[in-house]
Protein backbone atom coordinates (compact mmCIF):
# COMPACT_ATOMS: atom_id res chain seq x y z
CA UNK A 1 0.00 0.00 0.00
CA UNK A 2 1.25 3.45 -0.95
CA UNK A 3 0.31 6.34 1.28
CA UNK A 4 1.14 9.98 0.59
CA UNK A 5 0.25 12.35 3.39
CA UNK A 6 0.14 16.07 2.78
CA UNK A 7 3.11 15.90 0.39
CA UNK A 8 4.57 19.17 -0.82
CA UNK A 9 7.45 19.42 -3.25
CA UNK A 10 9.06 22.74 -4.04
CA UNK A 11 11.81 23.18 -6.64
CA UNK A 12 14.20 26.01 -5.94
CA UNK A 13 16.35 27.37 -8.72
CA UNK A 14 18.20 30.55 -7.81
CA UNK A 15 15.61 32.99 -6.62
CA UNK A 16 12.69 31.25 -8.27
CA UNK A 17 10.60 28.65 -6.57
CA UNK A 18 8.17 26.26 -8.21
CA UNK A 19 5.75 24.37 -6.03
CA UNK A 20 5.09 21.16 -7.94
CA UNK A 21 2.99 19.40 -5.31
CA UNK A 22 0.88 21.22 -2.75
CA UNK A 23 -0.26 19.14 0.17
CA UNK A 24 -1.13 16.05 -1.84
CA UNK A 25 -2.66 13.17 0.03
CA UNK A 26 -3.23 9.87 -1.74
CA UNK A 27 -3.60 6.25 -0.79
CA UNK A 28 -3.13 3.42 -3.30
CA UNK A 29 -4.13 -0.04 -2.15
CA UNK A 30 -2.19 -3.15 -3.01
CA UNK A 31 -3.35 -4.50 -6.36
CA UNK A 32 -5.01 -1.30 -7.40
CA UNK A 33 -4.72 0.32 -10.85
CA UNK A 34 -4.72 4.06 -10.34
CA UNK A 35 -4.48 6.68 -13.04
CA UNK A 36 -3.04 10.07 -12.12
CA UNK A 37 -4.51 12.49 -14.56
CA UNK A 38 -3.78 16.08 -15.24
CA UNK A 39 -2.46 18.54 -17.79
CA UNK A 40 1.23 19.08 -18.48
CA UNK A 41 2.95 20.76 -15.55
CA UNK A 42 0.35 19.60 -13.06
CA UNK A 43 2.90 17.59 -11.01
CA UNK A 44 2.20 14.05 -12.24
CA UNK A 45 5.84 13.10 -12.81
CA UNK A 46 6.91 14.68 -9.52
CA UNK A 47 4.24 12.63 -7.77
CA UNK A 48 5.45 9.37 -9.35
CA UNK A 49 9.10 10.07 -8.64
CA UNK A 50 8.27 10.87 -5.05
CA UNK A 51 6.49 7.51 -4.79
CA UNK A 52 9.61 5.85 -6.24
CA UNK A 53 11.89 7.44 -3.63
CA UNK A 54 13.67 9.35 -6.38
CA UNK A 55 12.58 12.70 -5.04
CA UNK A 56 12.57 13.87 -1.46
CA UNK A 57 9.36 15.73 -0.62
CA UNK A 58 9.79 19.17 0.87
CA UNK A 59 7.24 18.24 3.48
CA UNK A 60 4.82 15.44 4.20
CA UNK A 61 5.51 11.73 4.08
CA UNK A 62 5.41 8.82 1.65
CA UNK A 63 5.15 5.29 2.96
CA UNK A 64 5.08 2.03 1.06
CA UNK A 65 4.00 -1.06 2.95
CA UNK A 66 4.56 0.91 6.14
CA UNK A 67 8.10 2.04 5.35
CA UNK A 68 8.66 5.78 5.23
CA UNK A 69 10.68 6.13 2.02
CA UNK A 70 12.28 9.38 2.91
CA UNK A 71 13.63 8.19 6.20
CA UNK A 72 15.63 5.58 4.29
CA UNK A 73 19.29 6.09 3.53
CA UNK A 74 20.60 5.94 -0.04
CA UNK A 75 21.36 2.24 0.10
CA UNK A 76 17.95 1.40 1.50
CA UNK A 77 16.28 3.48 -1.19
CA UNK A 78 18.31 1.70 -3.85
CA UNK A 79 17.29 -1.67 -2.45
CA UNK A 80 13.71 -0.53 -2.20
CA UNK A 81 13.61 0.54 -5.83
CA UNK A 82 15.29 -2.67 -6.97
CA UNK A 83 12.89 -4.91 -5.04
CA UNK A 84 9.65 -2.99 -5.17
CA UNK A 85 9.40 -0.53 -8.02
CA UNK A 86 9.26 -0.81 -11.77
CA UNK A 87 9.44 2.63 -13.29
CA UNK A 88 8.61 3.43 -16.93
CA UNK A 89 9.97 6.88 -17.61
CA UNK A 90 8.27 9.37 -19.84
CA UNK A 91 11.53 10.03 -21.72
CA UNK A 92 12.24 6.26 -21.93
CA UNK A 93 15.86 6.66 -20.79
CA UNK A 94 17.10 3.68 -22.73
CA UNK A 95 20.84 3.23 -22.55
CA UNK A 96 22.15 4.02 -26.03
CA UNK A 97 24.89 1.40 -26.19
CA UNK A 98 22.68 -1.53 -25.19
CA UNK A 99 20.25 -3.19 -27.53
CA UNK A 100 16.57 -3.39 -26.67
CA UNK A 101 16.84 -6.83 -25.06
CA UNK A 102 19.78 -5.73 -22.95
CA UNK A 103 18.05 -2.53 -21.94
CA UNK A 104 15.07 -4.49 -20.71
CA UNK A 105 17.26 -7.05 -18.96
CA UNK A 106 19.19 -4.22 -17.32
CA UNK A 107 16.42 -3.97 -14.76
CA UNK A 108 17.44 -7.39 -13.47
CA UNK A 109 20.68 -5.82 -12.37
CA UNK A 110 22.78 -7.87 -14.72
CA UNK A 111 22.91 -7.39 -18.44
CA UNK A 112 22.56 -10.47 -20.56
CA UNK A 113 21.78 -12.83 -17.71
CA UNK A 114 20.11 -15.90 -19.21
CA UNK A 115 16.94 -15.81 -17.12
CA UNK A 116 16.56 -12.06 -17.46
CA UNK A 117 16.97 -12.33 -21.21
CA UNK A 118 14.22 -14.91 -21.45
CA UNK A 119 11.91 -12.74 -19.38
CA UNK A 120 12.86 -9.73 -21.49
CA UNK A 121 12.04 -11.61 -24.68
CA UNK A 122 8.64 -12.65 -23.31
CA UNK A 123 7.77 -9.10 -22.26
CA UNK A 124 8.89 -7.74 -25.61
CA UNK A 125 6.73 -10.38 -27.31
CA UNK A 126 3.72 -9.26 -25.27
CA UNK A 127 4.40 -5.68 -26.32
CA UNK A 128 4.89 -6.57 -29.98
CA UNK A 129 8.61 -5.85 -29.85
CA UNK A 130 10.10 -9.33 -30.09
CA UNK A 131 11.71 -8.69 -33.46
CA UNK A 132 13.32 -5.52 -32.20
CA UNK A 133 15.16 -7.17 -29.32
CA UNK A 134 18.55 -6.90 -31.00
CA UNK A 135 18.05 -3.39 -32.30
CA UNK A 136 19.72 -0.38 -30.74
CA UNK A 137 17.53 2.37 -29.24
CA UNK A 138 18.60 4.76 -31.98
CA UNK A 139 17.01 2.39 -34.50
CA UNK A 140 13.60 2.46 -32.81
CA UNK A 141 10.62 4.69 -33.30
CA UNK A 142 9.44 6.75 -30.33
CA UNK A 143 6.58 4.35 -29.74
CA UNK A 144 8.92 1.38 -29.77
CA UNK A 145 11.20 3.05 -27.25
CA UNK A 146 8.24 3.65 -25.02
CA UNK A 147 7.25 -0.01 -25.15
CA UNK A 148 10.84 -1.04 -24.46
CA UNK A 149 10.83 1.20 -21.40
CA UNK A 150 7.58 -0.38 -20.28
CA UNK A 151 9.04 -3.87 -20.69
CA UNK A 152 12.01 -2.87 -18.56
CA UNK A 153 9.69 -1.59 -15.83
CA UNK A 154 7.88 -4.92 -15.72
CA UNK A 155 10.88 -7.21 -15.91
CA UNK A 156 11.65 -7.68 -12.25
CA UNK A 157 8.08 -8.54 -11.32
CA UNK A 158 8.02 -5.52 -9.04
CA UNK A 159 5.28 -5.02 -6.50
CA UNK A 160 4.49 -1.62 -7.93
CA UNK A 161 4.73 -0.28 -11.47
CA UNK A 162 4.90 3.47 -11.86
CA UNK A 163 4.44 4.49 -15.49
CA UNK A 164 4.80 8.05 -16.66
CA UNK A 165 2.87 8.71 -19.85
CA UNK A 166 3.46 5.18 -21.12
CA UNK A 167 1.22 5.57 -24.13
CA UNK A 168 1.90 9.16 -25.02
CA UNK A 169 3.50 8.31 -28.36
CA UNK A 170 1.67 5.14 -29.25
CA UNK A 171 -0.99 4.36 -31.79
CA UNK A 172 -4.24 2.82 -30.50
CA UNK A 173 -3.08 -0.73 -31.17
CA UNK A 174 0.15 -0.35 -29.23
CA UNK A 175 -1.60 1.63 -26.51
CA UNK A 176 -3.90 -1.34 -26.05
CA UNK A 177 -0.89 -3.66 -25.89
CA UNK A 178 0.73 -1.55 -23.16
CA UNK A 179 -2.42 -1.35 -21.06
CA UNK A 180 -2.99 -5.04 -21.58
CA UNK A 181 0.45 -5.65 -20.13
CA UNK A 182 -0.29 -3.41 -17.17
CA UNK A 183 -3.67 -5.09 -16.65
CA UNK A 184 -2.01 -8.51 -16.67
CA UNK A 185 0.46 -7.22 -14.12
CA UNK A 186 -2.39 -5.99 -11.94
CA UNK A 187 -4.23 -9.30 -12.26
CA UNK A 188 -1.13 -11.05 -10.97
CA UNK A 189 -1.38 -8.90 -7.82
CA UNK A 190 0.74 -5.90 -8.79
CA UNK A 191 -0.07 -2.30 -8.05
CA UNK A 192 -0.13 0.12 -10.97
CA UNK A 193 0.04 3.89 -10.92
CA UNK A 194 -0.04 5.50 -14.34
CA UNK A 195 0.43 9.22 -14.93
CA UNK A 196 -1.30 10.42 -18.07
CA UNK A 197 -3.28 13.29 -19.44
CA UNK A 198 -5.29 10.95 -21.65
CA UNK A 199 -8.90 10.48 -20.67
CA UNK A 200 -9.04 7.02 -22.27
CA UNK A 201 -6.61 5.61 -19.74
CA UNK A 202 -9.02 6.32 -16.95
CA UNK A 203 -11.42 3.75 -18.35
CA UNK A 204 -8.97 0.97 -17.49
CA UNK A 205 -8.21 2.22 -13.98
CA UNK A 206 -9.75 1.25 -10.70
CA UNK A 207 -9.55 4.87 -9.67
CA UNK A 208 -8.49 8.20 -11.09
CA UNK A 209 -6.57 10.81 -9.15
CA UNK A 210 -6.65 14.22 -10.75
CA UNK A 211 -3.95 16.82 -10.32
CA UNK A 212 -4.09 20.46 -11.24
CA UNK A 213 -1.34 22.92 -10.39
CA UNK A 214 0.10 20.46 -7.89
CA UNK A 215 -3.10 19.94 -5.99
CA UNK A 216 -5.66 17.20 -6.00
CA UNK A 217 -8.58 18.33 -8.11
CA UNK A 218 -11.02 19.95 -5.65
CA UNK A 219 -14.06 19.08 -7.72
CA UNK A 220 -13.24 15.41 -7.70
CA UNK A 221 -11.72 15.16 -4.28
CA UNK A 222 -8.32 13.75 -3.62
CA UNK A 223 -9.49 10.20 -4.00
CA UNK A 224 -12.40 9.66 -6.27
CA UNK A 225 -13.38 6.52 -8.02
CA UNK A 226 -14.52 6.97 -11.56
CA UNK A 227 -15.67 3.50 -12.19
Amino acid sequence: MIVLRNVTKTYVSGRSKVVALKGVTLQVEKGEFVVVRGPSGSGKTTLLMTMAAMLQPTSGSVTVDGYNLHEMNTREKTDFRARTIGFAFQMFHLIPYLNVGENVALAAGTVGQGDARAKARELLRQLGMEERALHMPSELSVGERQRAAMARALLNHPKIVLADEPTGNLDPENTAAVFSCLSNFQREGGTVVVATHETEAALLADRVFSLRNGRGEPGLGCLEAVK
Binding site: Y11, M49, I95, Y97, L106
Partner: protein
Protein backbone atom coordinates in the same frame (compact mmCIF):
# COMPACT_ATOMS: atom_id res chain seq x y z
CA UNK B 1 31.01 -10.61 -14.94
CA UNK B 2 28.10 -8.72 -16.52
CA UNK B 3 29.35 -5.33 -15.41
CA UNK B 4 32.43 -6.01 -17.52
CA UNK B 5 30.20 -6.55 -20.53
CA UNK B 6 28.47 -3.26 -19.78
CA UNK B 7 31.84 -1.49 -19.54
CA UNK B 8 33.04 -2.86 -22.88
CA UNK B 9 29.80 -1.96 -24.62
CA UNK B 10 30.08 1.60 -23.32
CA UNK B 11 33.70 1.77 -24.45
CA UNK B 12 32.71 0.60 -27.90
CA UNK B 13 29.95 3.19 -28.01
CA UNK B 14 32.13 6.12 -26.87
CA UNK B 15 35.32 5.22 -28.67
CA UNK B 16 36.75 8.72 -28.91
CA UNK B 17 36.71 9.36 -25.19
CA UNK B 18 38.21 5.93 -24.56
CA UNK B 19 40.94 6.33 -27.17
CA UNK B 20 41.88 9.80 -25.89
CA UNK B 21 42.07 8.48 -22.33
CA UNK B 22 44.10 5.52 -23.54
CA UNK B 23 46.49 7.87 -25.32
CA UNK B 24 46.97 9.83 -22.09
CA UNK B 25 48.00 6.72 -20.16
CA UNK B 26 49.99 5.42 -23.10
CA UNK B 27 51.91 8.69 -23.31
CA UNK B 28 52.72 8.76 -19.61
CA UNK B 29 53.77 5.09 -19.55
CA UNK B 30 55.72 5.27 -22.81
CA UNK B 31 57.74 8.30 -21.72
CA UNK B 32 58.36 6.77 -18.33
CA UNK B 33 59.39 3.40 -19.76
CA UNK B 34 61.58 5.04 -22.40
CA UNK B 35 63.18 7.14 -19.69
CA UNK B 36 63.91 4.28 -17.34
CA UNK B 37 64.95 1.86 -20.10
CA UNK B 38 67.41 4.32 -21.60
CA UNK B 39 68.15 5.53 -18.09
CA UNK B 40 69.65 2.18 -17.12
CA UNK B 41 72.09 2.58 -19.98
CA UNK B 42 72.58 6.20 -19.09
CA UNK B 43 73.49 5.30 -15.52
CA UNK B 44 75.97 2.71 -16.76
CA UNK B 45 77.55 5.21 -19.07
CA UNK B 46 77.70 7.89 -16.40
CA UNK B 47 79.20 5.46 -13.92
CA UNK B 48 81.89 4.52 -16.38
CA UNK B 49 82.65 8.13 -17.06
CA UNK B 50 82.77 8.82 -13.35
CA UNK B 51 85.24 5.98 -13.05
CA UNK B 52 87.56 7.70 -15.45
CA UNK B 53 86.59 5.38 -18.24
CA UNK B 54 85.61 7.24 -21.33
CA UNK B 55 88.42 9.66 -20.45
CA UNK B 56 91.04 11.24 -22.62
CA UNK B 57 94.51 10.00 -21.75
CA UNK B 58 97.94 11.42 -22.53
CA UNK B 59 100.70 8.87 -22.22
CA UNK B 60 104.21 10.28 -22.09
CA UNK B 61 107.67 8.91 -21.28
CA UNK B 62 108.02 8.05 -17.60
CA UNK B 63 111.12 10.21 -16.98
CA UNK B 64 109.52 13.40 -18.31
CA UNK B 65 109.87 16.26 -15.83
CA UNK B 66 106.39 17.65 -15.54
CA UNK B 67 107.47 21.28 -15.08
CA UNK B 68 109.22 21.15 -18.44
CA UNK B 69 106.41 19.18 -19.98
CA UNK B 70 103.80 21.76 -19.09
CA UNK B 71 106.01 24.71 -19.95
CA UNK B 72 107.07 23.32 -23.35
CA UNK B 73 103.93 21.38 -24.18
CA UNK B 74 105.61 18.04 -24.97
CA UNK B 75 108.16 15.71 -23.47
CA UNK B 76 111.83 15.98 -24.26
CA UNK B 77 112.13 12.26 -23.77
CA UNK B 78 110.90 9.49 -26.03
CA UNK B 79 109.41 6.06 -25.72
CA UNK B 80 108.92 3.20 -28.20
CA UNK B 81 106.41 3.72 -30.99
CA UNK B 82 105.41 0.13 -30.40
CA UNK B 83 103.51 1.35 -27.31
CA UNK B 84 100.76 2.51 -29.65
CA UNK B 85 100.30 -1.00 -30.97
CA UNK B 86 100.45 -2.47 -27.46
CA UNK B 87 97.80 -0.05 -26.23
CA UNK B 88 95.57 -0.87 -29.19
CA UNK B 89 95.95 -4.58 -28.48
CA UNK B 90 95.11 -4.25 -24.79
CA UNK B 91 92.05 -6.42 -24.15
CA UNK B 92 89.14 -4.96 -22.26
CA UNK B 93 90.25 -1.40 -22.93
CA UNK B 94 88.28 0.38 -25.58
CA UNK B 95 88.96 3.71 -27.23
CA UNK B 96 87.58 5.71 -30.10
CA UNK B 97 90.74 7.59 -31.13
CA UNK B 98 94.38 6.58 -30.65
CA UNK B 99 97.48 8.18 -32.07
CA UNK B 100 101.22 8.47 -31.42
CA UNK B 101 103.17 11.68 -31.93
CA UNK B 102 106.72 12.91 -31.82
CA UNK B 103 107.35 16.59 -31.15
CA UNK B 104 110.77 18.19 -31.12
CA UNK B 105 111.91 21.79 -31.02
CA UNK B 106 114.58 22.44 -33.68
CA UNK B 107 116.28 25.40 -35.34
CA UNK B 108 115.23 25.67 -38.98
CA UNK B 109 116.18 28.57 -41.23
CA UNK B 110 117.48 30.29 -38.04
CA UNK B 111 114.12 30.12 -36.39
CA UNK B 112 112.71 28.01 -33.54
CA UNK B 113 110.36 25.47 -35.07
CA UNK B 114 108.50 22.51 -33.64
CA UNK B 115 108.61 19.45 -35.82
CA UNK B 116 105.56 17.29 -35.21
CA UNK B 117 105.35 13.76 -36.51
CA UNK B 118 101.87 12.28 -36.46
CA UNK B 119 101.06 8.63 -36.79
CA UNK B 120 97.83 8.05 -38.70
CA UNK B 121 95.09 7.46 -36.13
CA UNK B 122 94.68 3.86 -35.00
CA UNK B 123 90.98 3.10 -35.21
CA UNK B 124 89.13 0.42 -33.28
CA UNK B 125 88.00 -2.53 -35.47
CA UNK B 126 84.31 -1.54 -35.26
CA UNK B 127 84.95 2.21 -35.43
CA UNK B 128 81.83 4.24 -36.19
CA UNK B 129 83.37 7.69 -35.89
CA UNK B 130 85.75 9.32 -38.36
CA UNK B 131 89.33 10.09 -37.21
CA UNK B 132 89.46 13.03 -34.84
CA UNK B 133 93.05 14.11 -35.61
CA UNK B 134 94.39 14.85 -39.05
CA UNK B 135 97.06 12.70 -40.62
CA UNK B 136 99.80 13.66 -43.02
CA UNK B 137 100.86 11.50 -45.93
CA UNK B 138 104.41 10.34 -46.27
CA UNK B 139 106.57 13.05 -47.93
CA UNK B 140 104.05 15.76 -47.21
CA UNK B 141 104.18 18.60 -44.72
CA UNK B 142 101.65 20.96 -43.15
CA UNK B 143 103.25 24.28 -42.33
CA UNK B 144 102.08 26.44 -39.43
CA UNK B 145 100.73 29.90 -40.13
CA UNK B 146 103.62 31.92 -38.72
CA UNK B 147 106.28 29.89 -40.50
CA UNK B 148 104.43 30.08 -43.80
CA UNK B 149 104.15 33.86 -43.40
CA UNK B 150 107.80 34.35 -42.37
CA UNK B 151 109.23 32.24 -45.16
CA UNK B 152 106.55 32.96 -47.72
CA UNK B 153 105.72 29.29 -48.05
CA UNK B 154 102.63 28.34 -50.01
CA UNK B 155 100.79 25.10 -50.56
CA UNK B 156 102.46 23.23 -53.40
CA UNK B 157 105.93 24.49 -52.54
CA UNK B 158 108.77 22.15 -51.85
CA UNK B 159 110.81 22.61 -48.72
CA UNK B 160 113.75 20.79 -47.27
CA UNK B 161 114.11 19.94 -43.63
CA UNK B 162 117.50 18.76 -42.52
CA UNK B 163 118.23 17.44 -45.99
CA UNK B 164 114.93 15.66 -46.49
CA UNK B 165 112.56 17.11 -49.13
CA UNK B 166 108.88 17.69 -48.28
CA UNK B 167 105.95 18.70 -50.39
CA UNK B 168 103.87 21.44 -48.67
CA UNK B 169 100.38 19.96 -48.84
CA UNK B 170 98.81 22.67 -46.74
CA UNK B 171 99.58 25.90 -44.95
CA UNK B 172 97.57 26.05 -41.76
CA UNK B 173 95.44 28.98 -40.71
CA UNK B 174 96.31 31.03 -37.69
CA UNK B 175 95.62 29.39 -34.34
CA UNK B 176 97.22 31.86 -31.96
CA UNK B 177 99.14 29.02 -30.35
CA UNK B 178 102.43 27.19 -30.69
CA UNK B 179 100.86 25.35 -33.61
CA UNK B 180 101.67 28.43 -35.69
CA UNK B 181 105.37 27.52 -35.55
CA UNK B 182 104.83 23.83 -36.14
CA UNK B 183 105.59 21.75 -39.19
CA UNK B 184 103.56 18.57 -39.29
CA UNK B 185 104.68 15.50 -41.13
CA UNK B 186 104.11 11.78 -41.07
CA UNK B 187 105.57 10.31 -37.91
CA UNK B 188 108.02 8.13 -39.76
CA UNK B 189 109.26 11.05 -41.89
CA UNK B 190 109.82 13.20 -38.80
CA UNK B 191 111.48 10.28 -36.98
CA UNK B 192 113.81 9.96 -39.96
CA UNK B 193 114.61 13.68 -40.04
CA UNK B 194 115.32 13.70 -36.30
CA UNK B 195 117.17 10.40 -36.25
CA UNK B 196 114.64 9.02 -33.79
CA UNK B 197 113.34 6.03 -35.73
CA UNK B 198 110.80 3.98 -33.79
CA UNK B 199 110.42 6.63 -31.07
CA UNK B 200 107.53 8.84 -30.03
CA UNK B 201 107.02 11.18 -27.12
CA UNK B 202 103.26 11.04 -26.65
CA UNK B 203 100.28 8.78 -27.15
CA UNK B 204 96.85 10.34 -27.11
CA UNK B 205 93.99 7.95 -26.38
CA UNK B 206 90.59 9.59 -26.58
CA UNK B 207 87.32 8.34 -25.05
CA UNK B 208 88.89 5.32 -23.43
CA UNK B 209 86.54 2.91 -21.79
CA UNK B 210 87.56 0.08 -19.53
CA UNK B 211 85.14 -2.81 -19.97
CA UNK B 212 86.81 -4.97 -17.34
CA UNK B 213 86.70 -3.01 -14.14
CA UNK B 214 83.75 -0.72 -14.75
CA UNK B 215 81.95 -2.14 -11.76
CA UNK B 216 84.60 -0.94 -9.32
CA UNK B 217 83.08 2.37 -8.59
CA UNK B 218 85.40 3.34 -5.76
CA UNK B 219 88.57 3.29 -7.81
CA UNK B 220 90.24 6.58 -8.67
CA UNK B 221 90.16 6.86 -12.48
CA UNK B 222 93.75 7.95 -12.88
CA UNK B 223 95.00 5.19 -10.59
CA UNK B 224 92.96 2.67 -12.52
CA UNK B 225 94.38 3.80 -15.86
CA UNK B 226 97.94 3.90 -14.52
CA UNK B 227 97.63 0.44 -13.01
CA UNK B 228 96.17 -1.08 -16.15
CA UNK B 229 98.76 0.46 -18.45
CA UNK B 230 101.81 -0.01 -16.24
CA UNK B 231 102.30 -3.62 -17.27
CA UNK B 232 102.23 -3.05 -21.01
CA UNK B 233 103.78 0.39 -21.11
CA UNK B 234 106.49 0.21 -18.43
CA UNK B 235 108.35 3.32 -19.60
CA UNK B 236 105.29 5.53 -19.75
CA UNK B 237 103.27 7.67 -17.41
CA UNK B 238 99.59 8.38 -17.79
CA UNK B 239 97.97 11.79 -17.55
CA UNK B 240 94.26 12.28 -17.42
CA UNK B 241 92.47 15.08 -19.24
CA UNK B 242 89.67 15.68 -16.76
CA UNK B 243 88.09 18.68 -18.37
CA UNK B 244 86.25 17.06 -21.22
CA UNK B 245 84.92 14.24 -19.09
CA UNK B 246 83.70 16.69 -16.48
CA UNK B 247 81.87 18.71 -19.09
CA UNK B 248 80.23 15.56 -20.40
CA UNK B 249 79.30 14.49 -16.93
CA UNK B 250 77.74 17.88 -16.31
CA UNK B 251 75.87 17.66 -19.59
CA UNK B 252 74.46 14.30 -18.61
CA UNK B 253 73.60 15.50 -15.13
CA UNK B 254 71.76 18.41 -16.73
CA UNK B 255 69.90 15.99 -18.99
CA UNK B 256 68.93 13.88 -16.02
CA UNK B 257 67.76 17.02 -14.27
CA UNK B 258 65.60 18.01 -17.22
CA UNK B 259 64.06 14.55 -17.42
CA UNK B 260 63.44 14.53 -13.68
CA UNK B 261 61.60 17.81 -14.14
CA UNK B 262 59.72 16.81 -17.27
CA UNK B 263 58.45 13.43 -16.09
CA UNK B 264 56.33 14.73 -13.19
CA UNK B 265 54.91 17.41 -15.49
CA UNK B 266 54.04 14.77 -18.09
CA UNK B 267 52.44 12.55 -15.47
CA UNK B 268 50.43 15.38 -13.92
CA UNK B 269 49.34 16.61 -17.36
CA UNK B 270 48.23 13.10 -18.34
CA UNK B 271 46.45 12.71 -15.01
CA UNK B 272 44.54 15.95 -15.52
CA UNK B 273 43.81 14.90 -19.10
CA UNK B 274 42.33 11.59 -17.95
CA UNK B 275 40.41 13.34 -15.18
CA UNK B 276 38.85 15.82 -17.59
CA UNK B 277 37.93 13.05 -20.03
CA UNK B 278 36.44 11.04 -17.16
CA UNK B 279 34.47 14.12 -16.13
CA UNK B 280 33.25 14.45 -19.71
CA UNK B 281 32.34 10.78 -19.70
CA UNK B 282 30.34 11.20 -16.49
CA UNK B 283 28.52 14.20 -17.94
CA UNK B 284 27.68 12.21 -21.07
CA UNK B 285 26.35 9.43 -18.89
CA UNK B 286 24.26 11.38 -16.40
CA UNK B 287 21.06 9.98 -17.85
CA UNK B 288 22.47 6.49 -17.68
CA UNK B 289 23.52 6.98 -14.07
CA UNK B 290 20.10 8.35 -13.25
CA UNK B 291 18.27 5.47 -14.88
CA UNK B 292 20.50 2.91 -13.22
CA UNK B 293 19.90 4.52 -9.87
CA UNK B 294 16.21 4.51 -10.66
CA UNK B 295 16.40 0.81 -11.53
CA UNK B 296 18.02 0.06 -8.21
CA UNK B 297 21.70 -0.04 -9.12
CA UNK B 298 23.72 0.72 -6.01
CA UNK B 299 26.81 2.84 -5.61
CA UNK B 300 29.09 -0.19 -5.79
CA UNK B 301 27.98 -1.14 -9.28
CA UNK B 302 28.18 2.42 -10.52
CA UNK B 303 31.69 2.75 -9.06
CA UNK B 304 32.58 -0.50 -10.80
CA UNK B 305 31.28 0.87 -14.09
CA UNK B 306 33.51 3.93 -13.95
CA UNK B 307 36.54 2.58 -12.16
CA UNK B 308 36.39 -0.59 -14.23
CA UNK B 309 36.56 1.55 -17.32
CA UNK B 310 39.54 3.43 -15.86
CA UNK B 311 41.28 0.16 -15.02
CA UNK B 312 40.80 -1.07 -18.59
CA UNK B 313 42.21 2.22 -19.87
CA UNK B 314 45.12 1.84 -17.47
CA UNK B 315 45.84 -1.73 -18.49
CA UNK B 316 45.60 -0.96 -22.19
CA UNK B 317 47.73 2.15 -21.77
CA UNK B 318 50.28 0.21 -19.74
CA UNK B 319 50.71 -2.53 -22.33
CA UNK B 320 50.80 -0.19 -25.31
CA UNK B 321 52.89 2.34 -23.40
CA UNK B 322 55.45 -0.27 -22.45
CA UNK B 323 55.77 -1.41 -26.05
CA UNK B 324 55.94 2.20 -27.27
CA UNK B 325 58.38 3.34 -24.60
CA UNK B 326 60.65 0.37 -25.13
CA UNK B 327 60.57 0.93 -28.88
CA UNK B 328 61.51 4.58 -28.33
CA UNK B 329 64.41 3.61 -26.08
CA UNK B 330 65.65 0.94 -28.49
CA UNK B 331 65.33 3.22 -31.49
CA UNK B 332 66.75 6.46 -30.13
CA UNK B 333 68.84 5.20 -27.20
CA UNK B 334 71.83 4.00 -29.23
CA UNK B 335 72.17 7.43 -30.82
CA UNK B 336 72.20 9.10 -27.42
CA UNK B 337 74.31 6.62 -25.49
CA UNK B 338 76.89 5.61 -28.05
CA UNK B 339 79.40 3.93 -25.82
CA UNK B 340 76.90 1.73 -23.99
CA UNK B 341 74.35 1.30 -26.80
CA UNK B 342 74.61 -2.47 -26.67
CA UNK B 343 73.32 -2.54 -23.11
CA UNK B 344 69.93 -1.02 -24.04
CA UNK B 345 67.33 -3.74 -23.80
CA UNK B 346 63.68 -4.08 -22.75
CA UNK B 347 63.25 -3.78 -18.99
CA UNK B 348 60.43 -6.26 -18.44
CA UNK B 349 60.20 -5.43 -14.78
CA UNK B 350 58.66 -2.13 -15.88
CA UNK B 351 55.96 -3.99 -17.75
CA UNK B 352 54.90 -5.50 -14.44
CA UNK B 353 55.07 -2.13 -12.71
CA UNK B 354 53.19 -0.48 -15.56
CA UNK B 355 50.26 -2.90 -15.45
CA UNK B 356 50.03 -2.37 -11.71
CA UNK B 357 50.59 1.37 -11.52
CA UNK B 358 48.90 2.62 -14.71
CA UNK B 359 45.41 1.31 -13.79
CA UNK B 360 45.84 2.85 -10.33
CA UNK B 361 47.01 6.07 -11.97
CA UNK B 362 43.98 6.06 -14.30
CA UNK B 363 41.63 5.20 -11.45
CA UNK B 364 43.05 7.95 -9.23
CA UNK B 365 42.85 10.45 -12.09
CA UNK B 366 39.17 9.64 -12.61
CA UNK B 367 38.45 9.42 -8.90
CA UNK B 368 36.66 12.76 -8.56
CA UNK B 369 34.40 12.19 -11.61
CA UNK B 370 33.64 8.71 -10.29
CA UNK B 371 32.69 10.07 -6.88
CA UNK B 372 30.46 12.64 -8.54
CA UNK B 373 28.84 9.83 -10.53
CA UNK B 374 28.25 7.75 -7.42
CA UNK B 375 26.74 10.59 -5.47
CA UNK B 376 24.71 11.75 -8.42
CA UNK B 377 21.06 12.32 -7.67
CA UNK B 378 18.96 10.58 -10.32
CA UNK B 379 16.25 13.13 -9.87
CA UNK B 380 18.54 15.77 -11.41
CA UNK B 381 18.69 13.95 -14.72
CA UNK B 382 15.23 12.56 -14.63
CA UNK B 383 14.01 15.93 -13.40
CA UNK B 384 14.18 17.12 -17.00
CA UNK B 385 10.80 15.61 -17.45
CA UNK B 386 9.24 16.82 -14.22
CA UNK B 387 5.91 18.42 -14.74
Amino acid sequence: MRIVSLIFKEIRYRKVNFVLSLVAVLTAVALFVAFVTAGETYRLETRKIQLGMGQNLRIIPRETPMDKFWSVGFSEYTMPEDYVRRFAALEGYEYTHLTGTLHKKVRWRDKDVILAGILPEVMPPDAKQPPMTFSVNRGNAYVGFELARMFDIKAGDKIEIFGKPFYVAKCLSQTGSSDDIRIYGHLHDVQSVLGLEGRINEIRALECLCMIESGRINLDPLTLAQRQLAEILPDAKVLLLQGIAEVRQKQRAAMEGYLALIMPIVIVACGVWIGLLAMLNVRQRLEEIGIMRGLGYGSGKIILLFLGRSVIIGLGGALLGFVGGTALALHFGPDIFKTTAKTIEPQYVWLLWSVVIAPIFAAVSSFIPTVSAVTYDPAITLGKELQ
